[in-house]
């Protein structure tokens, strides 16, 4: 891993200076606090708009709806962000020649890839952490105060899911010189994983399958087997990175 330290420093500096981390943090935080807000007021809003003409019976919103909205909204915004962050990561540097510049220096290709993936993970992680704090506070104000440890555990699983999707796109980014093609490979990979998840017994181990234990963790109910899916998805990230390295180390720059 020659050069990992300086390369990681460069990636983190890049996430900050190009405003990527700031923008992702703002977007995630907006979804983080917006989710409990919508969970609380959407039923009343629907009722107000429908007026007296329709007698709709809407159950009063609960803290479960807040957590559900939080996971759904940040899941969707997060997947888009993960793809956008990873798609150009390696492809653009290969296409522009900046990868060649760095790799003519004392820097191994493994270190180069790992630094990039850690940079993406940092942006997703920091942004999700801020969003989680905001979401926790809004939920506490509008519904009830949950266990912060449980809320953090939920956020951790959500982060892992996003990192898996980023790693899929990242593999695409090492395979091609085009960020659009990389995004295509990433989305294709997600669809493939979702299809495999339909097979009996496989679903809970896919990245998408992390959302139900995440939900249970947030509410403090029985999450079932968390360790298995956790390790599977961590392994998936490691495996995708390893394949990226096998591809990248043979490539001409």
């Amino acid at each position: 891993m020659i050069g990992l330290g300086p390369l990681l420093r460069k990636e983190l500096l890049e996430q900050w200076r190009t405003r990527r981390m700031l923008v992702v943090a703002i977007v995630f935080t907006a979804f983080g606090i917006g989710s409990p807000f919508l969970a609380r007021y959407t039923p009343e809003l629907v009722k107000a708009l429908a007026g007296d003409q329709l007698e709709i019976i809407i159950p009063p919103p609960t803290v479960r709806d807040a957590a559900d909205q939080f996971l759904k909204n940040l899941g969707q915004a997060g997947i888009l962000t993960a793809v956008l962050l990873a798609m150009g990561s390696v492809a653009v540097e290969k296409e522009r020649g900046t990868a060649a510049l760095l790799l003519s220096k004392p820097a191994s290709r493994a270190a180069y890839l790992l630094a990039k993936m850690l940079g993406i993970t940092a942006t997703l992680g920091v942004s999700l952490a801020i969003a989680a704090v905001g979401g926790f506070a809004y939920t506490a104000f509008l519904f009830e105060t949950l266990s912060p440890v449980n809320w953090a555990a939920m956020t951790g699983l959500l982060l892992l899911m996003l990192v898996v999707y980023a790693a899929l796109t990242f593999l695409g980014s090492t395979l091609t010189k085009s960020s659009i093609a990389a995004a295509g490979i990433g989305v294709g990979g997600m669809i493939l994983v979702a299809i495999i998840g339909v097979l009996p017994g496989v679903g809970p181990y896919t990245p998408g399958g992390l959302s139900s234990p995440a939900m249970a963790l947030a509410l403090g109910t029985d999450a079932g087997n968390v360790i298995g899916p956790l390790l599977t998805n961590l392994g998936l990230v490691a495996g995708l990175l390893a394949v990226s390295w096998l591809v990248f180390r043979r490539q001409e720059l």
Partner: protein, 324 residues
């Protein structure tokens, strides 16, 4: 004693690179002795960039091998050991960085301490003439500024071997002279391999050259040897005005002489290529006197690399035209 002490700075043995059906480099054998400033010449597509990319471990050889101070390039060991400084022909950087950010990153990769980086970065920025722009982001740099920065990052750790691909191609004439001066200074501490298709650049700074054409080595050696071997001596005569008849008969006389290879008459001057410089000079002056031609100027032109190049590659180019 280490291997590096006896190995040539750069060595290629049968280095070959094929891109599909195109043979970009065809069995290149080359040795660059330590301490030389080596000009790597050839028309576009001759294989210069391919060779440099192979030596910088950015591309993989189809067959053959190369080494930097005795260390094989195949798996990128010279890069990781900080043995090479590499400058791309069109260097591109991260637009968000300033020149200082980039050099700081490069210095960190080389394991330089904070103090070393601080002083060395200021030093190289000064050397390549980027001190004033060093805190601006590279996104707004011109091609020439990027090339200067490219040289700065290549020399930051004073590597033993510098691989510079067209290092002055984007610079204006003044900038060219500046940067060629920097490269000449580097000759003292590094071995410089420097590709170009501008012959006067090479004449200014290089002590040895190699000429490549269509992926093959045409010739290599010390510059003075090549000039002596391939450049024909040429005299330039500038007659006073209003002597058309005398000049015409002089040209006729010279064209008939056995020691004259050719006479070029134009722009108010005669260029006379001769077989043997020293002897022909005397005979030439005698002929001028015999025809009663008054001269404004008479000089023996220094043989130029251009003559060598035209003779070796120009002929090749004509053959190529004849083939098609």
């Amino acid at each position: 004693m280490t291997v590096a002490a006896v190995a040539p700075a750069i060595a290629c043995r049968g280095l070959t690179k094929r891109y599909g059906d195109v043979l970009a480099l065809d069995g290149l054998d080359l040795e660059v002795p330590a301490g030389s400033i080596f000009g790597f010449l050839g028309p576009n597509g001759a294989g210069k960039t391919t060779t440099i990319r192979l030596l910088a471990s950015l591309a993989r050889a189809t067959s053959g091998d190369g080494s930097i101070t005795g260390v094989p390039v195949g798996d990128g060991t010279p890069n990781r050991s900080g043995l090479i400084g590499y400058l791309d022909q069109d260097p591109r950087f991260h637009g968000w960085m300033t020149a200082r950010d980039l050099l700081d990153l490069v210095g960190r990769l080389y394991g330089m301490t904070d103090a070393e980086r601080r002083s060395r970065i200021t030093e190289v920025l000064e050397l390549v003439g980027l001190s004033d722009a060093s805190r601006r982001t590279i996104g707004g740099y011109s091609g020439g500024m990027r090339q200067r920065l490219g040289l700065a990052q290549a020399i930051l750790n004073r590597p033993p071997v510098l691989l510079l691909d067209e290092p002055v191609s984007s610079l204006d004439p003044e900038g060219r002279v500046d940067i060629l001066g920097v490269i000449r200074q580097l000759g003292g501490e590094s071995t410089v391999l420097f590709s170009t298709h501008i012959l006067t650049d090479v004449e200014r700074v290089c002590d040895r050259v190699a000429i490549l054409d269509r992926g093959r080595l045409v010739t290599t050696g010390p510059m003075s040897d090549l000039l002596e071997r391939y450049a024909q001596p040429v005299y330039r005569l500038e007659p006073e005005e209003g002597q058309q008849t005398e000049v015409l008969s002089l040209v006729e006389l010279l064209r008939a002489a056995t020691w004259v290879l050719g006479v070029d008459d134009g722009h108010g001057a005669l260029r006379v290529a001769v077989t043997d410089g020293a002897d022909a000079g005397r005979q030439l002056l005698a002929a001028v006197t015999a025809q009663g031609v008054a001269l404004l100027a008479f000089e023996r032109q220094r043989p130029s690399l251009e003559d060598v190049f035209l003779q070796l590659v120009g002929r090749g180019a004509r053959d190529q035209e004849a083939e098609t």
